[in-house]
């Protein structure tokens, strides 16, 4: 009996253990898992009170900075700055957490709280915190020093930093636009090269209008612009140094050169050259002057644009019988058509992100600005009008600017303006320019704003 007892004891133990284990497993609950794949596509509400200042000058700067940031963020279409009159907490001690509850009451998600402090050396210190109202924590804190004249630029840098922290992508507010300013009657049109901040501030004419200028494009190194000018009635591609105001012709080509654009590293120019009844695409090394023809055949090939990695070139050509968009390797091999929709396609521009190519489409007497993937798939038309053309990308590849011509009625004459549209196609709006404007080109970011971490 004892033996049986000794044998049964461990057996009973094992069985009991088994029962307990199974019981425990049955008791264990997995935490519920829910997938949320729908959200709201709407601007993020942000509050941007005037940056605090002790003396009147500081307060004035603070107000100006808040206004510029607010306008930048609102124009992006991704943010909805709250009306300052709705603010409940009027004075926030800098560096201390605000009363989050009062900001939640007016339904803002983020709060930018900053101040301006004049320094003894005449400069100004501008510092701010970006607060997550619902997370109740600081998301970002930065400090800048500037002369009073640089206040707008600091506001653009702050806008970029906030934009990057809240969206994850690099901003585009600390940038400039070069464009062709137009004036005078249609028969005697004066076209001058002009530059301004991306928000329309600080416009400046760079040429006097004596010679026609077209298609200005920024260098990735920012110091130079390449454009086409009818200087002495000979259409040629020129380089223009923004800082020194000097210009020089690019290469000594026998015929007309046009549609220039920089390579991503800024060392080469890619452009079109008229040869007889055809036009071909050439690259020219700015350091050595070496040139290379990339296209062949009796066709019109123009409007070339490098991919951001410099390995491919997109261009327009009529080699298939109608004007279409093509892509080829940077040495000219493997050209293949990528646009197959109805109508004609032109002015392709590769996105700085590399994921899309923007183009102008002409169909049924209307013009469209659209985007497609580099393999030609996923075509999406973002704008439509009487005449839209010549898209240019913002440095973060999210917004496009283009020229829109609106026909006049009765006594009003045609107007040519620069417009912008974002990739969603919803946020389409005109850009403020001094008078008529066309052929915009977006600069890269001017300075390297501190990256949000």
């Amino acid at each position: 009996m004892k033996i049986i007892g000794k044998l049964l004891a461990p057996l009973i133990g094992i069985v009991a253990l088994l029962v307990l284990t199974i019981g425990a497993a049955a008791q264990t609950r997995e935490e519920p898992h829910i997938v949320i794949d729908r959200g709201q596509v709407e601007p993020l509400p942000v509050a941007i009170p005037a940056f605090a200042g002790v003396n009147p000058d500081e307060a004035r700067y603070g107000q100006e900075i808040a206004n510029v940031i607010s306008a930048n963020l609102e124009r992006s279409g991704l943010f909805a700055p709250a009306d300052p009159r709705s603010f409940i907490e009027r004075e926030i001690e800098f560096g201390s957490p605000p009363q989050f509850g009062s900001w939640r009451l007016i339904r803002v998600d983020a709060l930018i709280n900053g101040r301006v402090v004049a320094q003894e050396d005449g400069r100004v210190r501008i510092e701010f915190f970006l607060w997550d109202v619902y997370g109740e924590q600081a998301m970002l804190g930065l400090q800048f020093f500037s002369t009073p004249e640089g206040m707008r630029r600091v506001a653009h840098l702050i806008s970029d930093a906030v934009y990057e922290r809240l969206t994850g992508e690099t901003g585009y507010f600390d940038t400039r636009i070069v464009f062709v300013a137009e004036s005078g009657p249609a028969t005697l049109r004066v076209k001058r090269l002009a530059i301004m901040d991306q928000d329309g501030a600080n416009p400046r004419m760079m040429t006097d209008g004596e010679f026609l200028v077209l298609t200005p494009r920024f260098s990735p190194t920012q110091q130079e612009i390449v454009f086409m000018s009818y200087f002495n009635n000979t259409p040629r591609v020129y380089l223009y140094n923004i800082e020194s105001d000097e210009q020089e012709v690019v290469g000594d080509f026998p015929g007309m050169t046009f549609a220039p654009r920089f390579s991503p590293d800024g060392n080469e120019i890619i452009m079109s050259l008229i040869e007889g009844r055809d036009s071909h695409i050439y690259t020219m090394d700015l350091r050595t002057g070496a040139r290379r023809r990339l296209t062949s055949g009796p066709d019109l090939n123009t409007a070339p644009s490098f991919s951001p990695d410099g390995r491919f070139v997109t261009f327009e050509s009529d080699r298939g019988g109608s004007q279409q968009v093509y892509v080829m390797n940077r040495d000219g091999t493997n050209p293949h058509r990528i646009s197959f929709g109805d109508g004609r396609y032109g002015t392709p521009v590769w996105s700085p992100r590399g994921d899309l190519i923007a183009f102008t489409k002409m169909y049924s007497g209307r013009f469209y600005i659209g985007v497609m993937r580099p393999d030609g798939s996923g075509e999406r038309l973002l704008t439509e009008s009487f005449l839209d053309e010549g898209p240019t990308w913002s440095p973060n590849g999210r917004v496009l600017m283009f020229t829109r011509q609106t026909p006049g009625f009765g006594n009003t004459r045609d107007s040519t303006r620069v417009w912008s549209v974002d990739l969603t196609g919803h946020n389409e709006r005109p850009i403020l320019t001094p008078g008529d404007a066309s052929d915009p080109a977006w600069s890269p970011l001017i300075g390297s704003a501190p990256r949000a971490r």
């Binding site: 009996m1 057996l11 957490p97």
Partner: protein
């Protein structure tokens, strides 16, 4: 006899032992425990009792109005202690000609402040006496909505809110109510969130989620959060599970922040029928089932 019993016992023990050591190992790989699917049953009793519980003639219009006035919302100040925030880091820009970093600037010390007592948003007065007439379903509902089903269940008067007692009811009614209560409690109690509860939570959070638009490779931006709730279904804390990526990928960081904001922002809100809810619509008596919930935010189909 004794020997054969011993042999038999040994034999059985060997068989069981072998079974436990061999099959148990294999079972670890092969056995898939199917996930429980809790179901919610809307029995006839549930619905009929709610309306049958109150005789219409016992609830004259005037009484209902009076109760509505009494139920005028009183803002219940609920002081919220703002937790000590981490030191806001003052990041200095790269030295530039125009923008010089100032090392002498002291780092602002965050203070622990007590937030203003936040008056609760005014809840629409909940009539404590339910009319017999079943409320009309909202017009905009075109298809069966689980959230609506949830709201239906909520119509069952809770004990403390009930302005009438079981004694007020006729004998037959009382019996029906008790039967209904029993049937409700017995159904899928505590085994997990039901589909309608899950759907209501998903819908509530979706309403507040504004993911950053235009991110590159949005299909790779699935954000996983672990949300711990208080017993009143408000949010206790939210953890971003992939914290390494949060600290290294700006797109992910922005998207994760938007998800976290959504969870906090919509903990109080308005139901589809316009009634106010404090905390998410989760069954308070089954706290254990939703004490912690894992949420995956997937914006890949949105853009």
């Amino acid at each position: 006899m004794r020997l054969s019993a011993v042999i038999s016992a040994l034999f059985h023990a060997t068989i069981i032992g072998l079974a436990m050591t061999t099959f148990a190992k294999r079972a670890q790989f092969d056995l898939e425990v199917p996930e429980n699917i809790p179901v919610e049953l809307l029995t006839l009793a549930d619905i009929t009792n709610v309306s049958a519980a109150i005789a219409e003639e016992n609830v004259p219009e005037a009484v209902e109005e009076e109760i509505m006035e009494e139920a005028e919302p009183e803002p219940e100040p609920e002081p919220q202690q703002v937790a000590a925030l981490p030191d806001p880091v003052l990041e200095l820009p790269e030295p530039e000609a125009e923008f010089l970093p100032d090392d002498s600037t002291p780092e602002p010390e965050p203070e622990i402040i007590e937030a203003e007592p936040e008056p609760e948003p005014v809840p629409p007065p909940a009539p404590t006496v339910r009319p017999r007439v079943r409320p009309e379903p909202p017009e905009r509902r075109e298809e069966f909505d689980f959230a609506a089903a949830e709201a239906l269940i909520d119509l069952t008067p809770e004990e403390e809110e009930t302005a009438f007692s079981l004694e007020d009811l006729q004998i037959g009614d009382e019996q029906q109510v008790q039967t209904a209560e029993r049937s409700r409690q017995a159904v899928g109690l505590g085994t997990g969130l039901t589909i309608s509860q899950t759907d209501a939570l998903r819908a509530a959070i979706s309403d507040c989620w504004v993911p950053p638009a235009g991110a590159v490779n949005a299909e790779n931006l699935q954000i996983e959060l672990r949300v711990r709730f208080n017993p009143d279904a408000t949010v206790r804390d939210v953890d971003i599970i992939d914290f390494l990526r949060y600290n290294s990928d700006n797109f992910y960081k922005a998207a994760a922040d938007s998800a976290r904001r959504a969870v906090r922002q919509c903990e109080n809100g308005t139901r589809f029928d316009g009634s106010y809810r404090q905390g998410y619509d989760l069954p308070r008596d089954q706290y254990d089932t939703w004490r912690t919930v894992r949420l995956t935010f997937d914006p890949s189909n949105m853009f």
